[in-house]
Symmetry: C2
Subunit: 285 residues, 2 copies
């Protein structure tokens, strides 16, 4: 997905949020904001929004000297989601259709996104779970199940910390030996890295790789050769969240996108209302 | 009021909205957006947000060749408000406290602001009127009434088209020979100019001047000498709306600000919640 004009104010709002998160120094806030404005003035709008977001977070890390501003938040949300895990696991195993319930929960987990909003707490997450279990989805879980059954190799692209606990629930309902779970190569926003998969018990139940990139999405030309091999070899890809949607919506690969449409640009690109839960495939490829 | 970091994404959102309003040409959209990003990268944050907004709208007019993109919208909202006028006039004259009712309606009129939001229609305005007549105000209408009674010369700074019909209601309850009503010197956003005061019947019931500036606010160093004389000579100033608040909140002049706090930055600057209706004076000066 290209960068729409509406993405620019939003990326700047994310910059203001994120630099405040990374530093208390107003001089750093201002320097970062001015540098990002300059970057934005010259950016290639055919690139996807996570390309700009990658550059924004590099700028913030460089100016603040803080390599992982969201470390505490990431640990907090992993822990919060782990506390919810036993109850959610019960809901899945007691469901008449465990895979569908787990798909819904995996999408519910995608609300834990500090790029989209910062005012999140456990009540927000619990309300989102309740909604996800009962709402109408955009898309077809049966097509997803069929694809899983037919595939030998599935690449599952994770998104955020906390959310990966919900991914664990889904992976536990699937034939996990078919699956490789991929995370970002370096800390960016509250996105999950290998360390997080160890914290939430995902590392031991599925093969985990990182993509070698520090973008909050999957910019293929930015990823490692090892990741590219797995991407190319997979029968299909499960891509979680907006960042992976934005960077892969035009990819020449069969992909199931599982996400919440949290912003009007992505909702319009998908053709749905903001807030909807999506199981979208580009199956015609 | 200085430009806060949060103002920058908001000004860019306004840019995207406004350039689409002024032109259908994506090349113009992109050129304006890039130029505004460059302006923002170098802007003096001690200046008020309407200084940047002025430069944004100049850029849009220059690139689009459209001197008054909001002309139709301005006429539509003047007409809509004029349609409401007879009923609102009855509410004022039948009120046990006509000035207070008219002050509330004048603040209600401040919701007609295309800088703050574009999805406005008559239902939105009617709901706002109903709220304004009954809600708790931030501030003291009695202090406003006392100031009016004591003053010989009052300068009333108008804000938006449509809104000026609500200003007319208030001026009709006040000793209008004491009042000079000032509007912007040139078209900018949906802000009122002299032409609009003629359309809504305000021009004939009060002395009207323009401020000589094309800023969506009152940047004193940008205004004409004639306006400055009236500003200096007034015993106090009535300033409508956010743009006038942002540009005059630090002015060395007694001012009553009548506005809706439509954005979190202004609400924080005033010390109230977003959405509140304000009668704020800097009476200690």
């Amino acid at each position: 997905m290209k960068t729409y004009y509406e993405c620019i104010p939003c990326l700047l709002r994310q910059t203001v949020d994120a630099v405040r998160f990374a530093s208390d120094d107003p001089k750093i806030h201002e320097a970062v904001l001015r540098e990002v404005l300059k970057l934005a003035a010259d950016m290639d709008l055919r690139q996807t929004p996570p390309m700009m977001a990658r550059n924004i977070h590099r700028t913030i890390r460089r100016y603040s000297g803080n390599d992982d501003p969201y470390l505490q938040v990431k640990q907090d949300f992993n822990r919060m989601a782990l506390n919810l895990y036993p109850d959610l696991k019960k809901r899945v195993t007691q469901s008449p259709d465990p895979v569908s319930t787990a798909v819904r929960l995996a999408i519910a987990g995608n609300m834990i996104d500090f790029g989209a909003r910062r005012d999140m707490d456990q009540d927000f997450v619990l309300a989102g779970i309740q909604n996800a279990l009962t709402c109408d989805l955009v898309g077809d879980i049966q097509a997803f199940k069929n694809a899983v059954n037919r595939a030998d190799r599935i690449l599952y692209l994770g998104d955020n910390t906390g959310e990966i606990v919900f991914d664990r629930l889904l992976i536990e309902t699937l034939p996990s030996d078919k699956i490789i779970f991929a995370v970002r190569g370096y800390p960016v926003l509250n996105d999950a890295t290998i360390e997080d998969t160890k914290e939430v018990g995902l590392f031991n139940i599925v093969k985990v790789i990182d993509n070698g990139s520090d973008a909050p999405g999957t910019i293929l030309e930015d990823c490692s050769p090892e990741f590219a091999e797995h991407f190319n070899a997979a029968d299909f890809v499960i891509a979680k969240g907006q960042g992976n949607y934005e960077t892969l919506s035009d990819a020449d690969k069969r992909i199931f996108f599982l996400l919440q449409a949290k912003c009007p640009v992505i909702a319009a690109d998908i053709g749905c209302e903001v807030g909807r839960l999506i199981v979208k495939t580009n199956a015609e490829r």
